[in-house]
């Protein structure tokens, strides 16, 4: 195909334009019809590129065929579409074609026929070329050209340009149509909306008359699955069952791996570092305390959760890649209606279950400041993956083989918390928030691919590792420093943790949490450190209890159980449940607060902090006080 400046029209040949929506095979058809006899160039006076070629119609007849830019309708949204609309619709245009061929997609006939509906309201010679019949056949759909032509009032030819079938019939039909009188135009209905509605009614009737379905189109297996997973009652139950399976499988498979990794940090890594430092003459110094008790005890403990998170992220990525998680998101959309929030708000909230920070940034897609404010206020109540890490740890320590169920309960509690908080915010601030009708374009179900599942899981795992190697290391060093400062005994770097500034400060705050059953300084200090990042709850426990067995998960679990038993008066399960609820609802991490302040300002962020602390305290006290009566 050569390039040249386009003239208007050669004097001797009839001009035919090829139009149609994008991606219906129009250019393939053009190339099949014109072969190598085509040129490319800008249409005169515009920057719009069109192709022009000679089409041998047979019996010595030829026509100039112009491939115009793709357009869904004559209502132009771009310069390209503007040119198409002007050329084929303007009755005064010198460039009006003698005949227009409209390419339509057999597999998506309704979407393609709107342009035909508009063109039929003009006095034009038209021929409809139905492309991609093979794709339609695979979907169980067949076009009946004669019946469709009868309804449209113009000739219809089924063609397959890729396999070069139907091209001769198209040439014959076009030759005949060009010699016929211009068919009478349909009379448009007055009013834009009314005219649109009438055109679609005309299209629906044409599709009904001109197509035959073997039933697959209406009742695909994915539709049958969707009827279950999107059902108002059964859908949420399926979702809850799936999530329970994810958490149960995660804990069952990961815990043995986690123990192995914990032993690795507690044994070879700690001993190797201690041996190396001894060789450098730093054995028994504060440097060994920082590296072994601090970094390995804290970060190593956190890193032992890597297998667990890898499995959980992989399972969630499998659900995502299969297309199921998108269905679960649709269920959330119904909850948004309950809260009076716009349907669009569900997406940031769903993202919040992964990480609150991008979820808050995603609220920018919402239409009004009020919608953004309420959604940003709700996002910290979603159980992000950092909180889930702590839940898994506590579930493993306190609930054994029911750890997955414990995590699942916290996940459900998070959803309930979002709903209740949303209702409260709405009643307190605005009764109604404006909404617009929303249609969700669901991806098809598919067999998950290892590549995509692995890529998604790895991206999230790397995020966890980044946090562990960045802000958690900083938090660990800060905690070690405060633990190294003596208050009631010892010297710097050689002080029992209960004699340190860390314990002294935590003891001052701990009584506030006694009504919730976890008023021990070891537990409260972990919560305070968790303000930096929720994973730091684990690393701070790792440091606090790292005296004898840095990085040893089983020993850490024994220490934590003892602390909860002591602070709860013998009701550790009620206390740990209260602690998990508090962790779910209290102030989010600093990164989330920074994101909140950027989106809604410090004043509303401050209000949010107060509300979250009050909510967390009230819920934790309620859970413990009721729970101690049961367990």
């Amino acid at each position: 195909m050569s390039r040249s400046s386009q003239g208007r029209r050669p004097a001797t040949l009839p001009v035919m334009c090829l139009v149609g929506p994008p991606n219906v095979g129009k250019s393939t058809l053009f190339n099949a019809l014109t072969g190598a006899r085509a040129t490319m160039g800008n249409w005169p006076g515009t920057t719009v590129e069109v192709a022009r070629g000679t089409w041998r119609l047979g019996d010595g007849a030829s026509a100039t065929l112009v491939d115009l830019p793709g357009a869904y309708s004559l209502d132009a949204a771009s310069p390209d579409e503007q040119l198409t609309a002007e050329l084929v619709a303007d009755p005064d245009s010198d460039d009006a074609p003698d005949l227009t061929i409209v390419a339509v997609d057999a597999a998506h006939l309704s979407r393609s026929l709107y342009l035909v509906a508009q063109l039929r309201e003009l006095p034009r010679r038209l021929v409809v070329a139905v492309t991609m019949p093979d794709v339609a056949h695979r979907r169980g759909l067949a076009v009946r050209p004669a019946a469709l032509a009868g309804h449209l009032g113009v000739p219809v030819v089924e063609i397959d340009p890729r396999h070069r079938t139907g091209l001769a019939e198209l040439a014959q039909t076009v030759t005949a149509a060009a010699a016929d009188p211009v068919p009478p135009a349909r009379t448009p209905v007055a009013g834009i909306a009314e005219a649109d509605d009438e055109r679609f009614a005309w299209i629906a009737a044409a599709v009904a008359a001109g197509t035959a379905s073997d039933g697959q189109v209406q009742t695909r297996w994915s539709d049958r699955v969707d009827r279950v997973v999107l059902a108002p009652v059964l859908g949420p139950l399926v979702f809850l069952a799936v999530m329970w399976g994810v958490f149960q499988l995660t804990t069952a498979v990961a815990v043995p791996l986690q123990d192995l990794l914990g032993d690795f940090f507690a044994g070879p890594v700690s001993q190797g570092v201690a041996w190396g430092l001894g060789g450098l003459g730093l054995g028994g110094t504060w440097v060994q305390g920082l590296l072994v008790d601090g970094v390995i005890g804290g970060v190593g403990m956190l890193l032992s959760f890597t297998p667990l998170l890898a499995i959980m992220f992989a399972l969630l990525a499998l659900l995502e890649d299969s297309g199921y998680l998108a269905r679960a998101a649709v269920l959330t959309d119904r909850v948004m209606g309950l809260l009076g929030l716009p349907g669009r708000a569900f997406l940031p909230l769903v993202v919040g279950f992964g990480c609150n920070v991008p979820a808050i940034a995603a609220t920018r897609t919402l239409a009004t400041p009020r919608q953004r404010l309420v959604t940003v206020m709700l996002i910290p109540f979603t159980a992000c993956s950092a909180r889930l890490t702590v839940f898994v740890m506590l579930g493993t320590v306190f609930f054994g083989r029911w750890a997955g169920t414990a995590v699942f309960v916290m996940y459900v509690a998070s959803i309930i918390l979002v709903v209740v908080a949303g209702l409260v915010w709405r009643s307190a601030l605005w009764r109604t928030l404006p909404d617009e009708p929303l249609v969700i374009d669901l991806p098809p179900y598919q067999v998950p691919t290892l590549r995509l599942t692995g890529a998604v899981a790895w991206t999230r795992l790397r995020g966890f590792l980044q946090t562990a190697s960045g802000i958690i290391v900083a938090a660990v060093i800060l905690v070690w420093l405060v633990q190294a400062i003596p208050v009631t005994g010892g010297t710097f770097g050689h002080v029992e943790v209960e004699d340190s500034l860390y314990a002294w400060l935590a003891r001052g705050v701990a009584p506030l949490f006694a009504p919730a059953g976890f008023g021990s300084w070891q537990t409260v200090s972990a919560l305070v450190v968790g303000f930096v990042a929720k994973e730091a709850v684990i690393s701070s426990w790792g440091q606090t209890y790292a005296i004898d067995n840095p990085g040893n998960i089983a020993a850490l679990g024994d220490h934590i159980q003892a602390a909860f038993a002591a602070s709860s008066g013998g009701h550790p399960l009620a206390a740990v449940a209260a602690f998990m609820v508090y962790l779910l609802a209290y102030t989010p991490c600093v990164a989330t607060l920074a994101a909140q302040s950027r989106e809604i300002g410090w004043r509303w962020t401050g209000v949010g902090i107060l509300v979250q602390l009050a909510t967390a305290s009230a819920m934790a006290i309620l859970v413990f006080q009721v729970g101690r009566l049961i367990v």
Partner: protein, 79 residues
């Protein structure tokens, strides 16, 4: 009698969220519903939200994971 566009709009307002749900609610051919939805979205009467994997638009700015680990693209599910 109301036409397909009005029926689709009414089904959306009544809580139908996907093309199959709207098709069931209206009794219209699924392809007609898809065409009507595309048209309404183009006209601004209905919002469309494609659900793909990865974060939603605008989420990268300020995300702690983006700068070092995420690429400036979204993973797309196969069509």
């Amino acid at each position: 009698m109301t036409g397909p566009l009005a029926q689709v709009r009414a089904a959306c307002a009544a809580g139908a969220r996907t093309v199959p749900q709207i098709a069931r609610a209206t009794g219209l051919n699924r392809d007609v519903v898809q065409g009507a939805v595309d048209h309404l979205v183009a006209r601004g009467g209905v919002a469309a939200l494609p659900l793909t994997t990865g974060c939603p638009p605008g989420a990268c700015d300020g995300c702690a994971l983006w700068s070092r680990f995420c690429r400036p693209r979204r993973l797309q599910l196969r069509a």
